[in-house]
Amino acid sequence: MKVTYNWLKEYVNIPLTTEELAEKLTRSGFEVEEICYQNQHLHDVVVGKILKIEKHPQADRLVVCQVDIGDKTTQIITAATNVFEGAVVPVSLPGADLVNGVKIQPTKMRGVESNGMFCSGEELGIDENYFEGAGVNGILILPSDMKIGEPIEKALSLDDVVLDVYITPNRPDCLSVIGLAREIGAILGDKPKKVNLSYPIDIYSKDTVHDYIEVDNQTENCPRYCMGAVKDVKIERSPLWMRARLNAVGIKPINTIVDITNYVLVEMGQPLHAFDQALIDGKQINVRQAKEGEKIEALNGVTYNLDGKDIVIADKDKPMVIAGIIGGTNSCINDNTKTVVLESAVFDLKSVRSSSRKYGIRTDSSARNEKGINLASAEDGLLRALALVSKLKCGKVVRGIIDKARGENKARQLVGSVKFINQILGIEIPASVMSKILNNLGIENKVNGDRLECIIPPYRQDIENNNDLAEEIIRLYGYDVYDKTDGVLFKNSPVTESVPNVRYNLERKYRNMLVQEGFYEIMTFTFGSNDFVKRLMLSDERANPIKISNPLGENFAYMRTTMLSSMLQTATYNLSVGNKEMRLFECGKVYLSKGDNLKNLANEPNMLAMLVSEDGFDFFNFKNVIENLLGAYGEVKLERSKEPYLHPGISADIFVAGQKIGHFGKLHPSVIRSYELPANSYYGEICTSLLISLPEKKIELKQVSKFPNVARDLAVVVDEEVEAGAMVDAIKSACGNLYFDCSLFDVYRSDALGKGKKSLAFNIILSDLNKTLTDEEIARVMNKVLKALSYRFGAVLR
């Protein structure tokens, strides 16, 4: 919220600079986000009067002016055509640094000296709404009664400082000048000044507000509706001081009545609405719920179709305002307005909020209404507006106001505990200090032993318990008290046990293992486009990604159902910037619908995904990575995978303890084509959520033989379809007790072997615990092995 330093000073003594004030506000919970000095670009600009204009001897388009700048006369050359002898104009002198970046210094123009420049409104940062003449294409001609030589910031009332203060949602009472002034008073230990709410009434005039308007408040959603009337209205430019303040806080000055409503909005935090009384049919205001399908053309030019949840201010038949949000064109103030009725009301914040959301309209008025306005403010706001009408002499205030209220906000009693508050804070603040702080905040209180008996004013709806009191006390007492409190940690509480998170720990182990294997960890957006469903040829539950209803865009609308989708995006990005080789992994979730429209939320299994795109990397390199990762589990089996996005011949599903926990392999050529990946690209994933429920292998250490092992190589020819894994199993069982190890060390194909045949060479290691094996024993075992291979796989010794 923007407020000005001078406006605040009107309501509270501030013996501080703006910087000091900003620091104090920030330290007590009102962060000052920006300080803006209006005069930043107005120094060395003064009011001057053109005494004499002569033609430039060397240039047709230039004139030489003698200018009175108060303490002296100076010579200025200009090309402007709207100047004349006797004109009062803004003069920027050497040293000036204007808002458009122009810096002024003495210069010679075609041989003639010029000691400054006349300014346009634009060069001073103001427009026609702010000051008459500021919008013309030329020099700003000032009123002739301005004091010559006066600094322009004074003459144009541009000498204030604007503070942009962040008001937290719990403090709607500070969304106004007086609210913030009250808070500053509390911080500085001073009481704010009262707002002038009084105005004279023409005692000879007999008419009252009821002669102009009647109000029927028909909806529960309007707890208070006040209305006053002003006759003989003069719609004109409001005085400079009022325009200056509105302009400073970013509100465009329009005319007296509209400016007053805006002024009260900023000053009191009370939104007002002004109607042209002549445009209200039947002199009747109905505050009611909108009828289904009712239409209103709002001041923003848009026509809205209303429904029963909206509150409207209507006359006999037509809605004139979407209550608390925006007015309609059918009843607004215009140049012909003679009589004005002013609304100052409080509407149900939830209703205003939902209507404002529904239609996407946010106004200064809705912003305040949806945060909650104190009921007392409706009357004060109206009286303040009427007082301003009177002050500006822009109309005659009619006797009386209409006040349709349903209940009132009352001051509440709250009993706090000094001890409890100190327990919350963990420090010792004396009761007397607490009492004084609360008192400064307008919370009357009495200390009664441990009891802190408080009267909470109606505008502080946010204070409900000891914690709220503790916050009020500590933020004004000063958080810097904690700068010195460090000591024993948790000195008043027992030790708590840190329970290991099995999944997080497992994932962390895997992350570190993969880093050693040369992988880079990535972190990708979990949502994206749904084009992956088609491109990865998915047809199971992964084909129906969950959709965000208000995404950043269609390309960010769907939750991923496979890690591969976001991983491929990363790969594509890296390829596009020339990173051709990559080993990537990511730990994250996929999001699967349970098919119940998210009634029971979603399935969110944790996955570990790996992508490799690297020359020379093959299935067996990947297999090694998988085996190393899963080394802690006993039974790791591979079966041919049917994953649609993997190469059917070069991929495998991974089973641990009989459960499928993942898959890996070369990416399907169609996927590689679709994503324009290098031909040698591999992907694999493991579901870590599943893995943590499976048993790790128990390590039992057996004694090894004292005698050396015996190694024998065996090469056999088999049909192409025979899988090496099964042959190793057969060798193992054929060796019986003497088996120690067996590994495949060569696969060989040739014309000599014949088509559809391959030769596999195994290295078999035998061991006996009790003796050195004899040649006969070894020969017997090898024979048995060969027989088994021949019987089960049709193997022939090569």
């Binding site: 330290r27 949602p169 963990g426 318990n465 916050e471 500590i474 840190s498 990535i522 969110e604």
Partner: protein, 339 residues
Amino acid sequence: MEQELKKIKFEAGEAIEKVEDKKSLAELKLSYLGKSGKLTAILKGMRDVPSEDRPRIGALVNEVRTFVEEAFSAKEQEFLQKELEEKLQNEKVDITLPSKGTKRGALHPVTSMTDRLVDICVNLGFSVVEGPEIESDYYNFEAVNTPKSHPARDMQDSFYFTDNVLLRTQTTAVQARAMETMKPPFKIIVPGKTYRNDSDATHSPMFNQLEGLVVDENVSMADLKNMLSIMMKRLFGEDTRVRFRPSYFPFTEPSIEVDVSCPQCHGKGCKLCKSTGYLELLGAGVVNPKVLDFNGINSKKYKGFAFGIGIDRASMLFTGNTDMRSLFKNDVRFLKQSR
């Protein structure tokens, strides 16, 4: 004979000293100790020595032989040593050539920051707890004192799936779940992804938070300060200070923003901290008793405090990274820097 022996000893000593290569040494050795060598010849002559002189001459012969043999052996050793040294000289590798084998990859900067924070907290007695990212409005907002139409909802624009299901905007959602199921006293941290509907240089629609919650009979704002002070010291170094500023969150009361002394200039003021000496890094506060009661924990008996830290931002401060978007772009050239 005696004379001769002494002569041989002297001559051999001189000759061995002068030899310059292995081959000449071998020839020289042969000429003394070979089958027809000078010393061998003398030994053969021992038969002719009178028996009374034998012990004396014999001792002398032995002495000379030992001397000659040792002199040859020493010289041989010298040549071998020299040869080895030459060989070693020639076997030198360029140790600056690149290493072989698989090159290490790297963790993502965000997870490596998460691990740091988790380690610090786990050592202080916290348990790591997790929750769903697709979350109900109830846990994300209502159970943490942010009912529908609460003005604080403006602080967070959410991604919705249905009216009541959204991507969690804060790991605070897990607080409510934990309070429902865990018995105090407990200390938990919740690291995880969170989502808000905005995107620019300093905001990413997906970001990472770590939330901490302590519920116990006697914990206070002072404990919170103490705890965060230790946490930030372990993260950024012993001379780190933390500072509290009042703020507002619906689920804590009092609520604070926590500034940490700038890790780059140690509070002196620099570009990173915009000359303030401090950086805003955490939100925290005493758990609002309404939240405790709402989730079934008696606020008359128990108190709590909570804190939340933006992991991405902490990682950026730690590594001097200035663009949050770079964290989720995953350019390998960027990631390689943390190797």
